[in-house]
Amino acid sequence: MNRRYFFLGSLGAGALALTSSCARRGVKLSAKQRVSIVRAASYTKDLTDVIRRILVDHCVAVAGKRILLKPNLVEFSAQTPINTNPVFVAAVLEAFSGLGAASVRIAEGPGHRRMTLDMADAAGFFSVVPGFEKRFTDLNTDDVQRVALAHPLSKLKELYLPNSVFDCDLLVSLPKMKTHHWAGATLSMKNLFGVVPGSVYGWPKNILHWCGIDESIVDLHYLFPRQFAIVDGIEAMEGNGPILGRSKHAGVIVAGAHPPSVDGTCCQIMQIDPEKIRYLTLIEDNWRTATQTGETIASVASAFALHPDLENLRLK
């Protein structure tokens, strides 16, 4: 953590400080495309404070709000970090609770296997996250509502989506920083595939593949205008991600209110050219003008190994 970030973080010791610091910073620092890069060496208890400072720094309106945390839970393996670390999720939960959220729930709809709660148990969520079972909603089996897509990029005209993802004031995407052997990288935007219910579309949610993977990522992004993304890049995954890759210690948390800017920043940290990540090139939002605070991209960048077929994605 550099001195400027430490200073900003110290300013935000509470909600009052949050309000005043945001007012002082004015338009530039509250710009949506601002992305925080914070070093975090490991999954320790001080993560809560790190996350809290990020939320304060971004002037995230938390008090009285219903927050839904959407981690990435795919499969469990003791050998490789497939999922968002439960300690990380617990820290985010505690940070939001501490800033006065009315409720903080956790929800996910894994894409391959159907026994979500058993996977969450194996991955450590039950033992690490306080009251996990009561807080958690399996988005694969939640009751659903129809959502029309007004101007989709994909072939999707409508989706049936879980009520829980609309019954919140802020959707917080908590992906694991990973390479992906088809999409190049899977980060906060692709993490939203988990909101599409398996009970309607199956395991995997193959309809998204048939309607265009990258286009569907963009369509889902636009369905949720109130998002905040916090990427778990502490123990990340490189190589043949998102499941068969290997652990990569990146030691970083990347966060912001604009998921395309967060993902574009993550790609650069991973030494992947964001201009070659198709879903980013499809999005209208100008993530290219994102500004990074805290650490610089260069100071935390580390080349992630890519699947041999994807070496063309390497940032030159």
Binding site: M115, D118, R146, V200, G202, N206, I207
Partner: protein
Amino acid sequence: MTYAEKLRISLLSARNADGGWPFRQGHSWTEPTALALLALQASNDSGEVRSRAAAWIAQQQSPDGGWPPCATVPTSTWVSSLALLSLAHESAYCNGCLKGVEWLTCQICPDITTLQGFIQHRLGMSPARAPGGFPWFPGTAGWVIPTSFSILALSCWAKRLPKSGLPEIAARARKYLLSHRCADGGWNHGGSPQRSEASPSYAETTGLALLALAQCQSPALEAPLFLAQEFLRKPDSPEGAAWLLMGLAAHGRKPAETRPAMSLKTTRDIALQLIACETLRSGHNVLLASAA
């Protein structure tokens, strides 16, 4: 009180007022209700709960013959195979199922040309629309779980409709299953092996696929049967344990009754556990029995 009786009480306590079941809580859905009905049939229940469950499922049938996953969603999906399996044992509703069988047979992924197969492979789409597979959602690719349930439903109804061509369709689906095993011999969800050559099998899909291949006598099944026994030593979910017990029993392997150490968290967990329990007790699996 026996374990089966405890399971039955758990199942009944999870029921909704409309006669159907939720996955865990909330509205009734076709999948958990069909599994609950099959569990009641397996335990020879003949009461009002069973008749209301059958009526609930019958009422959900769409005009196209298939079944939607729940009342909110108008599209018929893979759950049609489960609805057909559960209503096959309810004589009052059998006639209405014939259109459902017809709907299901239309969902099988058709054969493709060599050129189409090559293009799909190059695009990384394999096993997209791989012949013989059944999709979760109409018009998409075939996958292991919906294909397995379709085999079970078609085999069940083939005995009632001997001249329907159902055995041939089920045989194509079995061929799909046999060709979509993981390198370790079992099954996972059925994803493309391209860039995922080392993907491991899952307990639940291995058990379910073995059950769907109950009529198959192939040396190719020795590896998955061995793997299933290994999985059963330390199952990673109650659902996995139930499918493994049923899959092994369908091939004459006599697993000792194994109560999962993990708690049963969903209607699916409870219903499958009850079906597996009754299968081991009676020697007959309701998912393999013929239509009423």
